[in-house]
């Protein structure tokens, strides 16, 4: 199969190493590189990566230092739910104009912060840098520091200039901002008495965990929180879905970090292990197998028979409620072939597993920003002949889905119209979905969505 791809004149030369076929080639796909110019990459930028990670922090002001477009396109970009403030759902911008580009935007940034503090009295402001801020060299750090001191609040610059890498670099910028945020405040700032002293000692709470890499899309973080509560494990704070200034400050107190979205949060977890001595494990609540395994993994970590027993009870009960529903869908979906093209490797991996659970064959799988280890896992999970590709474009997606006879594509907003034009079913796995895909209930929702699109009567007519 890979021969076809290599011979096709339409495949861009520089892209060849980013495409492989399971079984046909020894070497792995290349990944984690800049996009090829003119390849119509589906990727976003560094700023976008940072924004999607930090945006769910509910009571923060998210201020985009840059021209208006960047703020406009990322306004309320995630369907993250909140139990508290709604502040995060606004999009603030310094709205840089030509003269700010020529003379520098620092002054305007400072004034905008003044206005925002006066109007909203926030505890926390994130200031995101965009492409041109990086080029004209505004000193974000200095402006933020000065204004933070002036108002005695936290103003954290996010170094997310669009061109300094791809979305993963943005994840990292977000994690760096989070690390600054959770650093225990020096005593002087807490008491405000002017004395300087050492950072306060972190008190560890047992059996509490931080849940990293869940953005509470369609209540997903809440679903997991309930599961864990039931087995006797308390969530300290979620990064970053439905989190806020106060809860994030307590992050160092947890005794374990669990990571759902590995792409965005592994770096943060490693750093937290280094600084606060919090161990981490990777989990996934997407699909039944992963959900079961993850609950057990967490229970085992605490080495407490009561927790383990409760975990088993929860799993048994939940499985019983969904079993017959899933069987029905499985039957309907027999013989279906799926293609996957999503943002991160973690998502692709869990989708591969979920399709396996549903008895659906995956014929193509790719990601925008998957990492080497993730492609390794993808390759292990994929069946012989599956096309694996990194940073694909519409032409490649079209070609391989057609060649491989896919019935269904899982992707984001940009991929949807392409799938439909090709007469394929489609699953939205984007930031904005309105139904949870996590946990046991999520597994049913997923199956239901696959069914509703694959088995729609519309395909009879095309």
């Amino acid at each position: 199969m890979e021969q076809l791809a290599l011979k096709d004149p339409k495949v861009i030369e520089e892209r060849k190493e980013f495409i492989s076929t399971k079984g046909a080639q020894k070497q792995q796909v290349k990944c984690d590189e800049d996009s090829v110019a003119g390849s119509i990459s589906q990727r976003a930028c560094v700023f976008c990566g940072a924004r999607v990670v930090l945006n769910p922090i509910t009571d923060a002001i998210h201020l985009v230092h840059g021209p208006i477009g960047c703020a406009s396109y990322t306004w309320d970009i995630r369907g993250s739910l909140t139990s508290g403030s709604n502040h995060y759902r606004n999009s603030f911008s310094t709205d840089m104009k030509e003269k700010d580009v020529i003379f520098g935007g620092e002054k305007k940034l400072a004034i905008v912060i003044d206005e925002l503090v006066e109007k909203y009295k926030p505890k926390l402001i994130f200031v995101y840098s965009t492409c041109i801020v990086g080029v004209i060299g505004d000193d974000l750090e200095a402006v933020c520091k000065k204004q933070a001191q002036k108002y005695n609040i936290e103003i954290i610059p996010v170094q997310s200039s669009g061109f300094i890498g791809n979305k993963s670099a943005g994840y990292r910028a977000a994690c760096d901002a989070l690390l600054r945020l959770i650093a225990p405040a020096p005593q002087e700032q807490l008491t405000n008495n002017g004395e300087t002293s050492q950072p306060k000692e972190v008190k560890k709470k047992s059996k509490t965990i931080n849940y990293l890499g869940d953005f509470n899309l369609a209540a997903e973080a809440w679903i997991i929180k309930n599961y864990l509560k039931e087995i006797g494990v308390e969530i300290n704070v979620t990064f970053t879905g439905d989190s806020d200034y106060v809860s994030l400050k307590k992050a160092p107190e947890a005794s374990l970090n669990i990571i759902q979205c590995a792409g965005s949060m592994t770096y943060l977890a490693k750093k937290m292990e280094e600084i606060y001595d919090i161990p981490f494990i990777h989990i996934s609540f997407l699909g039944i197998e992963d959900t079961k395994e993850s609950i057990r993994k967490i229970a085992r970590f605490f080495n407490d028979p009561e927790i383990e027993q409760k975990a088993e009870q929860l799993i048994a009960r939940e499985l019983k409620t969904i079993e017959s529903q899933l069987d029905w869908y499985k039957q309907k979906l027999q013989g279906t072939k799926a293609a996957i093209y999503v943002g991160g490797g973690f998502k692709a991996i869990s989708l591969l597993k979920q399709f396996k659970e549903l008895g659906v064959e995956v014929v193509m799988v790719g990601t925008q920003t998957g990492r080497k280890e993730e492609y390794q896992t993808i390759s292990e999970l994929a069946t012989e002949g599956t096309v694996i590709l990194d940073d694909a474009n519409p032409t490649e997606l079209e070609q391989f889905m057609t060649e491989k006879g896919a019935d269904l594509l899982v992707g984001g907003v940009k991929e949807r119209p392409l799938a439909y034009k090709l007469g394929l079913a489609f699953i939205d796995h984007n930031h904005d979905r309105k139904h949870p895909l996590s946990g046991f209930v999520g597994a049913v929702n997923f199956a239901k969505e696959v069914y509703s699109t694959v088995c729609s009567p519309v395909w009879k007519y095309v």
Binding site: P9, K10, I12, D34, S35, V36, A37, G38, S39, I40, S41, R43, A44, C45, V46, F47, G66, P67, I68, G69, C70, A71, S72, Y73, W75, R89, N90, S91, F92, S93, T94, D95, K97, E98, D100, V101, V112, E115, L116, C131, I132, G134, V135, I136, G162, F163, I164, G165, P394, T395, E398, G412, V413, K414, R416, P417, L418, K421, L422, V462
Partner: protein
């Protein structure tokens, strides 16, 4: 006189009402046969814009990017852009390539005119035409970007040609269904024409196999070249500043008579369009169209009393805002708040006389954002919002129902199918407006009356 005209002076932009310049530049190219676009800048810009357009039009939107990275930003992006052009030519074989700049390319001083001219020299066998446009994101909104690009295309493609019988019809950002309606009217009147740009087929294409990377349709390049010899130009750009006016360019360079009129939405504006057509072509307005006018009048009478209860906020691109405001005024809906994110000198001047006549407190704001629009809407007890999807927060936060109109519509399907021009389109638009008022009234009427006349008088204190 109670009219007020407010300028909005604050520095922070809180929830943008507009997008950036290159976004507007994509659309004209999508309305030309066989064309592709590449954006010179970082990957994110093109991805955001593709996403917005894909959601609005429900069509695949292939737009390239030169994917500028750190190196390109420091040492110049010429190489990236040229590679990008090559790759696009290889994969898409376009007849025309639009090159749009972004903030980043402009800030580092990329000269796309020169780079593309060099590229053409280096590839003497190149059959594709290239039109470079400098569209810095911070230089204006998508509205200005759209017209600037149209003008730039004309500058690059038109050549002196023999006089012919066609009328140039230059359209602003209206829906594909609107363009199709304008074409139908021209066909019914048997008037030869060149619609520029014409994305009625490319951004609202029928389902067909096999899939075409570049959809059929669009203004032909041959027709654009010959727009210089047309009988006259009708341009729906009454709000566009002279230096951005493509029609004015044709007039000044080739002496083509220009009729710059509003979008034909509403009775009066449609009358103007038809009379202009009639006077240029010497043809009578046919019976069928007269009947459509009669039907619109009938619709206006049917709904006039309901409309009298409408206090509207109208926001979006100046041209649309003007057209809708006029349509509201002639139907008895009071446009309490008229707002645009663009900077325009014409909107206020054009609306002022009509509004003065009305003698009611009406505010016109420009270069504004949704924080201003929201507070003005509350202040004026607005009960109807008309504009693009980003105003959905008016409904969520203030309970003001929204009739979606303009671009982008990303939270509903069918942005590409909304019909609002001509007598027929106006009738459909008016029904949408009136029915929204009615729905809102009926939904609230029982509780409202109960609260007002029962609860207050009989329950309190009893």
């Amino acid at each position: 006189m109670k009219k007020t005209v407010t300028q909005h002076h604050k520095n922070v932009n809180e929830n943008p009402c507009n997008m950036c310049m290159p976004m507007g530049g994509i659309l004209p190219f999508k309305g030309i046969e066989g064309s592709m676009v590449i954006m010179h800048g970082s990957q994110g810009c093109s991805t955001y814009m593709r996403r917005h357009m894909a959601e609005h039009y429900n069509e695949p939107i292939d737009v390239g990017s030169s994917s500028l990275n750190e190196k390109g930003t420091v040492y110049g992006g010429e190489k990236n852009l040229k590679t990008g052009l090559q790759n696009i030519i290889k994969v898409y074989q376009p007849k025309l390539i639009g090159v749009l700049t972004t903030c980043l390319a402009e800030t580092i001083g990329e000269d796309v005119e020169r780079i593309t001219a060099d590229f053409k020299k280096e590839h003497s066998d190149l059959s594709a035409k290239i039109v470079p446009c400098a569209t810095p994101g911070y230089g204006g909104t998508q509205f200005e970007g759209y017209f600037l690009t149209l003008k730039q295309i004309l500058k690059h493609l038109t050549k002196p040609s023999e006089s012919h019988d066609k009328i140039n019809i230059i359209v602003p950002n209206i829906s594909p269904a609107d363009i199709r309606e304008i074409k139908r009217i021209l066909q019914v009147m048997e008037i030869a024409h060149t619609i520029f740009p014409d994305y009625s087929d490319t951004l609202d294409r029928p389902y067909e196999r096999p899939y075409k990377k570049i959809p059929d349709g669009g203004t032909t390049i041959a027709d654009i070249v010959k727009m210089s010899g047309a009988k006259a130009t009708i341009q729906f750009a009454a709000m566009v500043d002279d230096e951005l006016s493509p029609g004015l360019f044709l007039k000044e360079k080739y002496g083509i008579e220009l009729h710059n009129i509003p979008i034909p939405t509403g009775l009066e504006s449609t009358d103007i369009f038809l009379h202009t057509l009639s006077s240029i072509s010497g043809k009578e307005i046919p019976q069928t169209i007269q009947q459509e006018r009669g039907r619109l009048l009938d619709c206006m009478i049917d709904s006039h009393k309901y409309n009298a209860e409408g206090n509207a906020v109208i926001y979006g691109e100046p041209e649309q805002v003007y057209a809708i405001t006029k349509a509201c005024l002639e139907n008895g809906i009071i446009p309490k708040v008229v707002a645009t994110g663009s900077k325009t000198t014409k909107l206020k001047a054009a609306l002022q006389p009509m509004i003065e006549q009305l003698d009611m407190g009406i505010e016109i704001v420009q270069e504004t954002d949704f924080s201003v629009i929201r507070s003005l809407s509350v202040k004026h007890h607005v009960n109807l919002a008309i504009g693009h999807s980003d105003g959905r927060y008016l409904t969520e936060q203030e309970g003001i129902p929204l009739v979606r109109h303009g671009f982008p519509i990303h939270d509903r399907v069918g942005g590409q199918r909304l019909l609002s021009v001509g007598y027929t389109g106006t009738t459909m638009l008016l029904d949408r407006l009136t029915n929204t008022l009615l729905e809102n009234k009926y939904n609230q009427y029982r509780t409202k009356m109960y609260k007002e006349y029962y609860e207050k008088n009989f329950l309190i204190g009893s």
